[in-house]
């Protein structure tokens, strides 16, 4: 009963929106946030072009068609995007990088220790940095104190043959194709990208990742928090 198994997969990860099934790494992942300005679509964390740096990427408001929907998509001034970094493996954030829009710019705070841990946050009073929010034709990047900042529309970096999932779901196919077709080709997201020196963080912890036990690791994640 492969089909029923796959149906279960799709039932778990697919959500019907206007009769079109759409899915991504975390797009519209749950009823309360889907389609809102606080809906995180993806999170990436990797070593930068300069190997002394980390890069964090948070994407929100996914599945934007080109043209007007992308041009008119805006960050929400009431939604704080918060990158969380746990250095001692207690699964609680030791450092955060916060990003929030004011006016035509995205403002950044940290990395710094948060005033409080957990579901509620206040915005740090530490050094404030900013970048003017980009448009499709006006790309703005700020470099300051070894950090780099970007905020604005980007091509959705996520790739997945979701149409073939649907074909299997509907019984017109029994497996994926090879090659498949990227259902997310040609759609955009709003991205926040921060690059910062690893030296701004305390050291990570060894023994966290059993597949790289001797390599110090951080636990990292991103949150969207709305002003009350």
């Amino acid at each position: 009963m492969k089909k029923s198994k796959l149906f279960a997969v799709i039932g778990g990860i697919g959500v019907a929106v206007l009769s079109i099934f759409l899915i991504s790494a975390d797009h519209i992942d749950a009823p309360a946030v889907q389609g809102t300005t606080a809906d995180i679509t993806d999170f990436y964390a990797f070593q930068g072009q300069n190997s002394s740096n980390f890069v964090f990427v948070a994407n929100v408001q996914g599945l934007l068609p080109p043209g007007q929907p992308t041009d008119e998509a805006v960050f929400d001034e009431t939604v704080l995007l918060e990158f969380n970094i746990d250095s001692n493996n207690d699964l609680k954030e030791d450092y955060v990088i916060q990003a929030i829009k004011r006016g035509d710019s995205m403002y950044f705070f940290g990395p710094s220790a948060p005033a409080m841990q957990g579901l509620e946050s206040t915005i740090a009073t530490s050094t404030r940095r900013s970048v003017k929010i980009s448009t499709k034709d006006d790309v703005q990047i700020t470099e300051q104190d070894g950090m780099k900042f970007f905020a604005g529309p980007r091509e959705d970096p996520f790739f997945f043959d979701f149409n073939q999932y649907n074909a299997v779901l509907s019984g017109t196919a029994s497996s994926f194709n090879n090659p498949g077709m990227d259902t997310f080709a040609g759609t955009n997201v709003l991205s926040v990208v921060v690059e910062f020196p690893k030296s701004m963080l305390p050291g990570g912890t060894t023994g966290v990742n059993p597949f790289a036990a001797s390599t110090p690791m951080y636990n990292v994640w991103v949150e969207a928090k709305r002003k009350q």
């Binding site: 198994k5 946030v33 498949g180 928090k225």
Partner: protein, 208 residues
């Protein structure tokens, strides 16, 4: 003289062409190195404000208030795959330190629902161990070295833009200990993005 003029002209054109070629897009890079040093310098008109690079002087912005969590994400697709109706929203507003206690058993039930034949996977993780790892929805990020979800060698040391996280997830859920079970379900056949990523900041491709 004429020859020299032509040479000069040619040199000027070549230089401008080179300049254009080096500037591969219209990115406007603003360097703000002096904007947080506590002294008035550069082209600032006040301490760390004014001029072309820093924020306007006298700019008052309100960052007060309490912000309450609505969504969270560590590894790709965890809530979308392992969450089920009834606790997806709860998962998004649970702190990572409480996730395992709240969701590991639910994740294990879901895993065995997705793949009733699950015994272990290519990482050698049985169902309780695999779902324990996944229910703590944080991304491991290596302090040094290659950062990738999986590149054939490195395992779960970060997440790069080009990582085929869907195939990794499908393989670990459906592929069995040798990765050879359910062969039609372990790859979606889309190994790369439709657009190339940049090797330099901001790394993501421009919008369509």
């Amino acid at each position: 003289m004429k020859t020299l003029k032509y040479i000069t002209l040619f040199a000027a054109i070549s230089t401008s062409l080179l300049f254009v070629q080096c500037k591969d897009d219209d990115d406007n890079v603003i360097i703000q190195e002096t904007c947080t040093d506590g002294i008035m310098n550069g082209e600032e008109t006040g301490v760390d404000c004014g001029g072309p690079d820093c924020e306007p002087c006298g700019l008052v912005l309100d960052f007060s208030g309490t912000y309450v969590q609505e969504d969270q994400m560590g590894r790709p697709g965890i809530n979308t795959v392992f969450g089920t109706d009834g606790f997806k929203d709860a998962f998004n507003v649970t702190v990572p330190s409480q996730m395992q206690a709240a969701f590991q058993e639910k994740f294990e039930t879901k895993l065995l629902g997705l793949n009733p034949g699950y015994t272990s996977n290519a990482l050698g993780l049985d169902a309780p161990t695999f779902t324990t790892v996944l229910s703590n929805d944080v991304l491991w990020l290596a302090q040094s070295g290659i950062t990738t979800y999986f590149n054939g060698t490195e395992i779960l040391t970060g997440r790069a833009l080009s990582d085929d996280v869907i195939d990794v997830s499908l393989l670990l859920i459906f592929g069995g200990p040798m990765g050879d079970e359910n062969p039609g379900l372990t790859s979606d056949g889309v190994p790369t993005n439709d657009v190339a990523f940049s090797s330099s900041f901001p790394y993501l491709a421009g919008p369509f």
